[in-house]
Symmetry: C2
Subunit: 406 residues, 2 copies
Amino acid sequence: MKIAVLGGDGFVGWPTSLHLSDAGHEIHILDNLSRRWIDTELGVQSLTPMDSIQERTRIWHAETGRRIHFHLIDLAKDYELLKGWLAKHRPDAIIHFAEQRAAPYSMKSDRHKNYTVNNNVNATHNLLNALVELELDAHLVHLGTMGVYGYSTVGAAIPEGYLPVGIETPDGRTVSQDILYPANPGSIYHMTKCLDQLLFQFYAKNDGLRITDLHQGIVWGTHTEQTRRHTQLINRFDYDGDYGTVLNRFLIQAAIGYPLTVHGTGGQTRAFIHIQDSVRCIEIALNNPPERGSRVEIFNQMTETHRVRDLAELVAKMTGAKIAWLPNPRKEAPENELIVKNEKFLGLGLAPTTLGEGLLGEIVDVAKKYAYRVDRSRVPAVSAWTRDIAAKVEHDPEGKRLKSVS
Amino acid sequence: MKIAVLGGDGFVGWPTSLHLSDAGHEIHILDNLSRRWIDTELGVQSLTPMDSIQERTRIWHAETGRRIHFHLIDLAKDYELLKGWLAKHRPDAIIHFAEQRAAPYSMKSDRHKNYTVNNNVNATHNLLNALVELELDAHLVHLGTMGVYGYSTVGAAIPEGYLPVGIETPDGRTVSQDILYPANPGSIYHMTKCLDQLLFQFYAKNDGLRITDLHQGIVWGTHTEQTRRHTQLINRFDYDGDYGTVLNRFLIQAAIGYPLTVHGTGGQTRAFIHIQDSVRCIEIALNNPPERGSRVEIFNQMTETHRVRDLAELVAKMTGAKIAWLPNPRKEAPENELIVKNEKFLGLGLAPTTLGEGLLGEIVDVAKKYAYRVDRSRVPAVSAWTRDIAAKVEHDPEGKRLKSVS
């Protein structure tokens, strides 16, 4: 297949591009490289030293003989360029990662809120709009998030996208209907993924677009089979308070002797998936497109759920790290249960890579190798959900600031 | 109260501004005048001769001694200007009409789809974002649409925003929950109002904004008590295929001897409200803000439902007009039932102005007075929902084109 990977330079986009290229597909990465710009804006960098996208694809070609093509296009801003590119290349499938993907970044300031809404909504809508305009029947696979469901405890398992509900009619009967699971986003970022869902629903209904939406859990790990093949194919690995994700942060914190930063009680239960499984799921989704005219296909792309404090305790036990119990910069329930259905990927052959000390240890080793690149002042999560919360955020979990005063 | 009316130069915005000014409030209209530009783009004009906003407000002052202030600001594009204005004026309430509001216009082309999404989402989000940034506790009243509910026949009455549903738990119990009524928009325009709903839900939850969302039916009529006071205070009255709404179009068509344009079987049941009630409802909503921290307040702003073909037949009977049964440019159910709850406004004192021959006749008279301004070629609804449908659209319900060939 000819596949366009939008946002193919990112944390999951890059290993997905390699994985699919390795499987024999013709890969075209479309990316505006905004994530690299945001590193510059925030004054942070990936723990792992990443090469430019051009250099990465050159190395991939040298190692495997396969080409990955790169096109610098801003989906959200350059509708005509995107449309022109799609008209010329007419890909069979499109994988859409091209959105600002950090909840804390989306809550940093009014500018960041506007940027996230504007970028994410327009990127998704421009794409859908162009597919219709070009009558291009490419299968669109979108990376969504488990966060669209929210984390309020209803007591029922979270289904894969659609919830069967009973609705009472005036004459006392109960009619059963499948509805899109009621959106309950916890940040501006998560909200944009809820907006995406409605865009997809409309374009599938009105125009028969074939769309798969992957509601992904928190991705952990950094290597996949392909990124291991050469130092310069290494994947991005974020540790900072905005882009670093919880389990990866604990592993890096353990590696650099930083206290594990648990926010609130650590009672948040979240869904997780290893990055190797993430790229495999995307491949499975690609191979199982919905029929034209059917509703949006939705998968829960996760393999297990864990409570944040349990993960911290696991990593602490494994590595001897200390845990820092910090005020929570997010506005969220302190504790929640989470039961998630993921039978669809399992039924299509996914063999989950679950949390094991071996794999966790390997990640700690990667982190140790590049520990010299860490700016410890960038570790705290300081982007707060409201002004009141911001006043209570802990900027210095190591207590360094106090020491320097004494 | 000091009230900002965003989009106060529009079809409902203008009479709302007059009504609230008349009631003693300090009114500030913020508008980018995009609706006037769209008239220019489409080469159409209001049936009624509208003066500039500056002239209209001058006349209002001359007639009543009251000032309505006008500020040219593009909400969707000029976030910093909007924020600066709000910081300076700190209104007590904000009424938000500032969105592209025609479903057919939103479906005209890819450019119009992008414009509608971009304009409507950014206008709403910029506003919410600025309110939080400024810690401005103004009550926000938004004009939404009944179309967010969709027109699929579930058999249950449409509640005011929130639907109680039963959800089955793994242990066999049924948990009851109130959810935002599942969105089922029928056009890009309607979809943007569904996106708005999620933005409101998030900002009410995260930031405690006080928001009222009015799900309005199709507005008919043109005059209100205040627009009648002077010829130059006259309201806009659209007859064209994009911006004209169904009942007003029938009345104008009857006035100019054009066949009444029914699309499909005319079996579409829709909710309606007279413009005089529309402005009264907005005033009632203003006077009944939700508590800070509570969920978004939602009212169904409509007074009656009618089937389109029944309206056509009523107008035909009243005026002797013929009915033209035309292919439907929209993708929608040919027939639907619609039962809508509207007890909240009734409970707060709304006395509905329902469809009566007297009022309908008055509107026909207005249309007759200005009939000389009509461009008949702009009457057909030609913006189609898909390319397949576009091929079947009737561009000439009067059959003029055939005649000129023979």
